[in-house]
């Protein structure tokens, strides 16, 4: 089966991967190249990490990760704590450099262009690659509506109709029905799950191409987690999603592809990547199998 890259490929399960790998279509190339070797030619679309390393001071925390994120897919990054998953996604929108001792090597290509190239406007990169954090962090001095539209003000973007955008983003984040009567109250009064969906709406308002989610449900109860997962499923048709999670059921539920990261005491590495079905049913690497079956020591 071949996948048209222009259509919504978010619901394609990885079962088809072996066959798509044989075809010559762009999507087929993408599927077979989920894990690329450094030096292979760029796809030119989506987000591609090439041989990414990361350091904090002298400590090498992430070694040689190469991973492609095809538009309209959800990729889950799993692995034990301290294996470099969060560090990795923070290199994808240049939030890594926010930490003073941070250093990195390798390339991250967004639509074929290296986001670390000299002269690249980092604020533009972060507009295209949005982020949702582990803990819900609505801006405390702003109302719900101001929070959603904060990105426009921060990045000085002009929008024709703010009310439409506000409703659209809250709708896409699955929060509109709950807050439409109190848009001008403060976000701090919402529950944790609502706050996190508010943060998703806020990230969507600047129309990112990719959305990075760093354990977005780890501070939430199961009900809120479910709502966020529904939100992710709805978004995946229009936005490329990369989600770090410690919850393997969550990875199995929401993602098309799964990458397993592990650190053996040294820098974190990507051990295996594949379709989510494959990773959870017949992983190639023994360590992946141990982890996904819960036998990890």
């Amino acid at each position: 089966m071949s996948i048209d890259p222009g259509s919504n490929s978010g619901n394609n399960q990885g079962d088809d991967m072996d066959t798509t790998a044989q075809t010559n279509s762009l999507a087929g190339i993408a599927a077979s190249r989920v894990h690329v070797q450094p030096g292979t030619q760029a796809l030119g679309v989506g987000l591609e990490a090439r041989g990414v390393h990361a350091w904090f001071g002298e400590k090498h925390v992430l070694s040689n990760v190469s991973l492609d994120f095809w538009p309209g897919t959800v990729t889950a990054l799993i692995g034990p704590s301290g294996c470099g998953k969060s560090t990795f996604i923070r290199t994808l929108n240049r939030m890594h450099e926010f930490i003073p001792t941070a250093a990195m090597a390798g390339e991250v290509l967004l639509n074929g262009e290296d986001i670390y190239a000299p002269g690249v406007d980092v604020t533009k990169i972060r507009l295209k690659v949005g982020m949702v954090f582990q803990k819900p962090n609505p801006f405390p001095s702003m109302t719900i509506a101001e929070n959603v539209l904060a990105g426009l003000k921060l990045a000085q973007l002009k929008v024709e109709n703010k009310d439409d955008l506000l409703e659209e983003c809250l709708e896409r984040a699955g929060l509109w029905a709950e807050v439409k009567d109190r848009l001008n109250t403060h976000g701090g009064a919402l529950s944790g799950g609502q706050q996190q969906r508010l943060c998703i709406a806020r990230a969507l308002a600047v129309r990112p191409q990719v959305l990075l989610m760093d354990e977005p449900c780890s501070a939430l109860d199961p009900g809120s987690t479910l709502r966020i997962e529904e939100t992710i499923s709805q978004l995946s048709s229009t936005v490329t999603i990369i989600i770090v999670t410690h919850n393997m059921q969550q990875a199995a539920r929401v993602s098309d592809y799964t990458a397993f990261f592990l650190s053996d005491g040294g820098p974190g590495q990507m051990i295996e990547v594949g379709s989510t079905n494959e990773i959870f049913s017949r992983p190639k690497d023994k360590r992946t199998e141990n982890y996904v079956t819960g036998r990890f020591g």
């Binding site: 929108n93 939030m95 926010f98 003073p100 604020t123 533009k124 972060r126 507009l127 949005g130 982020m131 954090f133 803990k135 962090n137 801006f139 405390p140 001095s141 702003m142 904060a150 990105g151 003000k153 921060l154 990045a155 000085q156 403060h186 701090g188 943060c199 806020r202 990230a203 600047v206």
Partner: protein, 353 residues
Amino acid sequence: MTTLAQAPIAKPQKPWAATYKDRGKTAGIFVASMAVSYAVVAATPLKGKLAYAAIFFATYIVIDFVINFAKAGRPAAVDAVFRAFVTMMVAMAITPIISILVTVWIRGHHGLHWTLFTKDMHSNAYTDAVPQGGLLHAIIGTFLLVLFAMIISVPIGILTAIYLTEIRGKFTRPISFLVQAMSGVPSIVAGLFIYAAILLPLTKKLNGFEGSLALAILMIPTVARTSEEVLKLIPGDLREAGVALGGTQWRSVAMVVVPAARSGLITAMILGVARVAGETAPLLLLTGGSGTKNFNMFNNSMGSLPSYIWQSFGAGTPESITRAWAGILVLLVIVVVLFTAARTLGNRKVGKK
């Protein structure tokens, strides 16, 4: 099936609270210690308040220790002594403060009268009868001096704090060190600095603005350090969220971090004002102590509450000394009001409007 309504009625209780018996015992030890201290002072050559206090403290601790030792053993006795000791230290710390407030009220309230706030001293001497003249000129002067000092020091102080917490450049450590060192600068040094740097070479005469500059030097460290502490309380997540939405660092700080810290920054500002409102030395050097209302910061000597107090005391008659105490009372009330305002604003949760 049990329902909530059928549950036995429970009354909230505090089984861990002190019983009447415990309180009675404490009161007993207290009274006994008082009695002992009276007896000792009467029987020995020890005299004065200090002797009463010292003997009372010592006796209280000994009785407390012995009773608890007999009842509950050594650890409980040591714990009781420790608690008594800490309570006494606190009492010693607040005694001078209470004493100052009480003294100022006792001595100052005779001098309070309505014309204090409606008249100045341009046609009166400090030695005149108390109801003549007033300190309107001094209140105006203090207000203007502090206002200008605030206009100069608040932006500098808050921007310094933003440099220290947000930009974290190469000079963060030396600047942080300098700001701390500056908060120990004696006010007379700030006054002499402006005297040598501005008054002697440039203006060659007293004016209010020079006083404000010296006050600003004293205010900046207070404002900067308090603001720094407040900005440090803002979670790093918020900064990251602002930047992750495509904002530049400047816009993220201005739109997210500073508004979230707003009430704390106002507190920093008020603490800075309270720090300098009573400063005397630099004002005596730089602004003089005119008895006439002066609204011009850049010309002529300017009155202020501290210099009014200084000059009244200097005059040395009973009337002038009453005036001085009344001035102290007014100044103290202003400072206490400012501190209360700062606490009220500061106690609001950071980030709430």
